[in-house]
Each structure stands twice: as structure tokens, then as C-alpha cells.
Symmetry: D2
Subunit: 264 residues, 4 copies
């Protein structure tokens, strides 16, 4: 049960959302309010777009709250589109390659959730990754495997369709495996220009997701960053958010029928 | 506000107290119950006596709960006298040399507390360390400085007297500095044979200390390791515990008058 | 091009071979003499058998030469059978799960070499690992995959046969992949009782291997630990060494014909 | 014997000097040519000035060559004035606070050298640091202590004079201590606007220093970054380099008489 934040808008120093607010992501690393794991101390990561097509990445296995580097980087790096993530492991080791966000070419991804009983379906999920992309698998998490599977399903051309297709396949795999664990997927995906965020779960326990839009910028978060909860809009389960340059943030259904089908 | 455990008795694998109990030290690293900081994720350490005079040490900056090495070491290392400590920093950086326990020759020390406003009196406390011992100062914590000051005050010959003398000096320094912060000292000291544990504070907020004696072994802890709280004896503020081979554990006053003097 | 040492004999402190000799393994981490990579600073590991069936493990991503923990552990841990390994990565990330030795149940393995062009055949090699063992894959190295493949081929019942069978399969995979890189395999395997070490390569560039036998103990190394090179016996390419309790060390051919077949 | 680079000029991505050249600083971390320690694997650091007065810092205890974060940061961070440093410890532990560069307010400093027998004069050197600055001492290196001593001697107003005064004092301390070790000081200092680099030693073994000037930018290095050695000017012992905005780089004597005095 990790916590994350994604930003898209005018270029801004990362510190405005990662380290500075009252309930900043770094603060959530020590005391999350809406997560089942209250401590998110199993590593963290930053990813940001700048002048290059490929995002910059910073991964660290130490807790975010004691990392002096993180404070310096968040103060000095400005970006129009960035991700930050604090990790509470669901079983895989605490290594840098297992820290979010993950990147491949210009695409970047981070995730809060779990993919059923990972030990039961890991091999099948990895089987969804095409050979050419499998070389990019540097860690062992379910999240990285799902990201590469989405790209393998055509995510670069149709990110929403490929994500939906991959989640439908994963839902079948999780059910067929016999585990009682759900598939929980609260995730962000971007190509450096458009930002997509998804909230999906195969049962009633979808991980939380909120967003806030102001002055042309969008902030999408696991938990509100401050006490002004009225400013934040809940993304309902089975929905997604799209933030494109020059457009209002769009909230729309995403795989809305899948959960109901599962519940019948 | 750290958490620690000290053991003296028949040789035993460290896991029996460090990783295995319901409320083990590793569990306390994520969720301490009686500490002001509920997460103790700023590094940890082990120290144990074996066939050599000098103790073995293991220090790590990652949180104890995610360290696979710790589980292996606690399962495979046996000792008749060992310390384990999870750290919640009071300001100094999270580095290995700042992790407890500290060792010098055959002496080992660990601490839960703080020494007033460290930035105000650091230089004076370091001034208590004799030149010969100052070379052993590898970190920057108040705790390590106090340990070396105790040894400098004759701790190897008279550990209790030297500790009391050092704390009296420190109490004066803290008061003279003008800080409102107290001197809190809940600490363990050993030469590999005898184990001393102290609970002292210059105000009413002494950090907790408990002990349990059974079948010739003594376990001294910041917090009980299990729900059978009846088995654990509280060490009152202004008291200390002594565990010597072949003797019953002794609970006795330690600087009991100092706090009252302060309160007058 | 890593460096390693394996010991089997009377229980001894690890320091006698890992940290103390003139050209100890830790010294080799900074300046190896017979390796293509002169610095082995991409992590290291210890594995040792004690009172439990399963070995203890210590993995660290920092270079061996600056790890104070390593000195303490090597001084205080005694074992009748242990492995130590300093790593020079051939491409996979420097993480703890990618450090040798690897363990599964009572079996332990470490490796110096490479498996052709890993990016080309990784998926096929992972395909050799049975489902039940795939859950034990915590890292991303070729070495760990080969270890689990050997166990999957029946290594627990017939370690030499399963290793030979796996290497024959790997040799075919490497050749079929079209890479010019050889399969180099200089490795150690043990169940806590018997120690097996192999030197094999699909071309003329087998990584070095030596052993020394004295007073009932066997030491097997990538490079001699001291300048008395006369004391060390070269293990020729296409050979292996077996050290069993109560028996003399046996040097015997291992897949001796495979390389010749390849060279024809 | 560390290696470092300092840049001042038009804003540029750090990668141009830190990671990209044939003999880049990262390459030097594994194989320095002109240093007594050929491997500089005891941590590294970056410091750069951007839109804030205070520099950004990145410190890491792992070797530079295997740090993926470093590659990302050097590719994405641009600066008009930056420092990079790979460390080979002369005795103090490998911790982040012991990694160069050091910063205090707008001032930044890094060092290649040693201050005689540090264990003999450490306390006296620390005694040069005013109380107000002593709170900024987060590590235990000689280099950080010298930096804070220079600031304490008025370095913010007269950086060259304060550095000379501090080195004169240190030279006396080293001589009085009776050690045979020299004082070696090849260092860089900046306030974000002007860049000063010094080459000084109390005997004939001053650590190397070079610079290159082109198109209004200055690069100052421990070792040339490429094979075009003609492009690089040697800074002789007892000299310093000053790079100010809008001016040509100035090479001038610095404490030139002190060494001769010592030799008499």
C-alpha cells in the first residue's frame, strides 16, 4: 500500500508537493492516513520530465523522511510533469530497481496496489511482456511487470485501451489462480505530455485516489496533501482521470463494468 | 526516542528476543507503543560478545523491518550477552557510525534519550572526552559522546560511579545552556561480563525501562516484548539494574536525588 | 568477473580467509590479479552453515573493502563450510538480491562467469526453473537463474549430474542465440555437508580456479590468497573438485568433452 | 586521494564533464591515473548552483560507477557552477555526511588531500571552528573541519585570505604534532558566483590540479578528462586559479613561500 503523487501543469519545483505541504508525500511516508500500511518506508522514487524525451529518475531504498538528497533534489528540480512515490512493500525486496516510478523510453508509470497473489501468477504476467521489452525488466515487482505488459499491449499508441486490455487479462489470471486476493490498481501513466491516472479493483476495496485542478495544473494523489479536503475531488472506483495540456482535467469511467461482473 | 533490548544469561540465538516475539524489537521498529516516536526507522544495530573480548557489531541505516541480513544474523549468532537497538533520530544524520550500540575495547553502550539541546552543548560534552579516546569518536551523536565521556571518567574501573559523575556534569551543562529540553538517559553498558542499565531524567519524563529475570538470565528492555506484562518489572526513574553472572538481578537507586534537587 | 572463496573443514572464523590473508578476498575486491575486471566493487556476500540446515546469508551493495560490518562478522562467525564472494557486475543492477551466494533450503551456490548474452537468453533460462522454485527467484541475475535451474534438474539428489545437464542445455541455448559471448561457469555448490566446485567454459577462456588441501580442510578460490603459489593446485578447465567430510579432496573431469566438441 | 572537477561558465548539463568524457570523473572513480589510490569508490557527491543562493547537494556512499541515480541527475541538472567529487577515504568512515562537496549557506567546498595525521590534530582543527559554525559540522572528516575553519576565519568576506590564514595555522599544527605526514590541500571553494581552486602542500607531493578555459567557461580538475592533454594547463604547487564571471581565468601564486620555508 504505497502513496503517490502526480503533477502536470506549469513548471514548478518538486518541493511544492513532495516535501513542503502539511501532509506532503514525505510526511505520508511516515504517517499515511488512508492506507492499510501506515508506514511507507520501503524505498521511494521520483520521476520527472525536463528537456529530454526520457524522464529523469531517482530511486532510493532508505525511507523518504531521512533522505537529505531528496530535499535537495525537490528544491532544485523543476518540472511540468512529475511523479513521486513512497513504497510499502507487498513482499518483493526493497531494492532500487523495485522502487517506482518505472520508465521505458518516454513512458513512465507508478502504482499503488497489488496483483492478486503475485507468487501464483508472476510467471503468467511476465509472459505478457514481449521479448523486446523483457530486457527492460530490471526488478522483480508486479508493478513493473504490469507496466511492461501495458506497453506490450500497445500502450504507446493507445494507453487507455492497452491498460484496460491488460487489466482484463490480469483479472482473469487472478481469478483463475484461485487466490482470494483482489487485483488492486491505482496507477499513473504518462508520456511526458499527457497524464493518465486509474482507479480500479476487482472487489470493493479500491485504493483511494483524488485530484485537484487549479490554474491549468492538475495534481493527482493517493491522499490529499492538506487539510482542505473540499479542494480535492474523489476519483470513484472504476474511473480514471486524464490531464492533457491546454484542456480541463477529464474524469471518466474506466472498466466500470468489470467489477460488477465480478460481483454477480 | 529509540527502543532497545539487552540480554545476559545462557548463550542464546539473538532471534529469541530481536526478531521472534510478538512485540519483538523489529516489530517495535515499525510500531512502538510507549515511545513518542512511533516509528523507529532511522537505522539499527546489534552488538554481541562471543569468544573475543571485544564485541561484534552490526550497524545498518535501513529500517530493521526490511533488512534480510538482520534476520539471518539473529538466527545464526548466539551470545551470552548482547544488545540490539532501533533508532529514531533526534537530529543527527542516519549513518552507520551514528547507530548504536557503540563499542570501545571490551566496553559496549547504547542509549535511548537525548542530552538537552545537543547543538548548544555538543562542544562542551565532546570536551569531556580525553584525547586518547577522542580518536574513537567515529560518529556525531550525543550518545557516542556520552559513552566516551563515561569511559574518560573512569568507567572501565567504576562504571556506575563514572556514569553518575558524567550525568551530574551533563545535568549542569544542560541547565547552564538555557535549553528547556531535559537530559534523558535510559542506557545500557557492559564489559562483556556484567550488564548495567540506567533510567534517569532531569524532569518527570524519563524514558521507560523494564526487566525480566528467569532461570539465570536477565532481559532488559525499553518496552515489554510480549503481552504478558506481569512478567516484566518496571525500573522506576532514578534507578538502575545490575546483572552479574551467578547473581540475582539487582534493582537499586541511581542518582535518585538529582531529579528532586532539580524539581525544587 | 567476480572473485570467490569456499571453505570446508574444521570450524574456523571466516576472517582467516576472507579478511586476514595478504591477498584476502577483501583485498581482491579492490585489486584482483587474475580477473578481467580489476575492481570487484559491485556488492559482496557471505554464506555459512552453522547449527541450522539452512545457511546464514549476508549481502551488501557497498564494496567489501569499506564495510565495517563485514570485518566484525568475519571475526565472530565460525563455520565448517562457508562461501564468500565479491562481485563485479556483468550488467545486472547492484542490489542485495543480486549478490552471491544464493540459497534455497539447505543448498547454497555462487558463481563467477557469465551466461552468453544474458539479454538474449534470459527468458529461456528462466523457463528452465520449475514453478515451485520460481517463487524463490528474488533477483535478476543469470547466476541465480542457473542455480534454480540446477535444483529444478534434480540438483538436490544428483548435484553433479544436474549441473552437467543444466550446463549442456545452457550451452545449446547460448549457441542457438547467436551471441559471440561464451558460457563461463566457475561455481561452487553445497548442501552444508559436501562442497562441489566447477570450472567450465564453452571456449578457451575459463575463469581461474584453485584449491588447497591441508589437515582435513579444503579451500577453493578464484585466486590464491597468498604469495605461496606452490601450495595451490590449479583446477584445469573441464574439471571439478569435490570436498566431502572424512575424504580427501577429489579432482575429476567435468564436462570435459563439451568444450572439445565446441572447438571442433 | 580523491578526484574532483569544478565548472564555472554558461549553464550546462553536468553530464558533459561528470559522466560523458572518455576519462570522465565517473571513469576516474574506477581507474584514476594520477592518484595514489587508483580506485575512488568510497562515496561521491555533486553540488550545483541553480536559482537558489544555496547549492543543491547529492551525496551517496556507493561507488559512482554503479549509481544509476547519478547518471539521471547529471543528464537532467544544468548549472552555471557545479562541483563533483569521487572519494577515496584516508580513514574516516564512508557515510553521506563525509562525502564532498560540503555546503554552508551559499558557500561550497571540496578537497583532495589530507591534513597530516588527522587523529593527532583533529581536536585542534575542530577548535578553529567558531561555535556558531560548529553546529553545521555533520560529519567527521578533516576536509569538512577545514572548510568550516576557513569560513570561521572570515572566508565569506575574504576567501583567499581566510584560506591562506587557515592553511598557515594548519601547517603549524601539523608540524607541531610530530607527524611525518604532510598537509596536502588541493581544493575548490565557491559562493555560487566566483570559483577558487588551490594547490598547496607542505612538501614536494602536492596533489595534481589542471584547468582549461574556453569560450568563457572554466573547468578545473584533478586529472584531465580526455587525452588532449595539450588543452589542459597545469596549476603549479603553491598556486591558485580564480574564475570570475566576465573575466579571464587568473592563475596566481598562493602561499608560494610556505613550502620553501618548510624546506629550509
Amino acid at each position: 500500500m504505497c502513496r503517490w503523487i502526480a503533477y502536470r501543469g506549469a513548471p514548478i519545483a518538486l518541493e511544492h508537493y513532495v516535501t513542503a505541504p502539511a501532509h506532503s508525500l514525505v510526511e505520508q511516508s511516515m504517517r499515511a492516513l488512508e492506507a492499510t500500511a501506515s508506514t511507507n518506508g520501503d524505498g521511494f522514487g521520483l520521476g520527472w520530465y525536463g528537456e529530454h524525451d526520457e524522464p529523469g529518475l531517482y530511486h532510493e531504498v532508505r525511507p523518504a523522511w531521512s533522505d537529505e538528497n531528496l530535499r535537495h533534489l525537490c528544491r532544485h528540480i523543476r518540472s511540468h510533469l512529475f511523479f513521486a512515490h513512497v513504497r510499502a512493500s507487498t513482499g518483493t525486496p526493497t531494492t532500487r530497481p523495485n522502487c517506482h516510478p518505472f520508465a521505458h523510453g518516454r513512458w513512465m508509470f507508478m502504482h499503488n496496489g497489488l496483483i492478486g497473489d503475485w507468487s501464483l501468477i508472476r510467471r503468467k504476467v511476465e509472459g505478457l511482456i514481449p521479448d523486446a521489452l523483457y530486457q527492460s525488466r530490471v526488478g522483480t515487482t508486479d508493478s513493473e511487470a504490469v507496466f511492461l505488459a501495458i506497453l506490450g499491449a500497445g500502450g504507446e499508441k493507445d494507453p487507455i485501451g492497452a491498460t484496460a486490455e491488460t487489466l482484463a487479462t490480469l483479472t482473469d489470471m487472478v481469478r483463475a489462480s484461485g487466490t482470494a486476493d483482489p487485483l488492486r490498481f491505482t496507477a499513473a501513466l504518462s508520456d511526458g505530455r499527457n497524464l493518465y491516472a486509474f482507479r480500479f479493483c476487482t472487489n470493493e476495496t479500491a485504493n483511494t485516489l483524488y485530484y485537484r485542478e487549479a490554474a491549468g495544473s492538475a495534481v493527482i494523489v493517493s491522499e490529499p496533501l492538506d487539510s482542505e479536503r473540499d479542494c480535492w475531488t474523489v476519483v470513484p472506483p472504476g474511473h480514471m482521470v486524464i490531464a492533457r495540456p491546454g484542456e480541463r482535467v477529464a474524469l471518466q469511467p474506466f472498466m466500470a463494468g468489470v467489477h460488477h461482473a465480478a460481483a454477480e
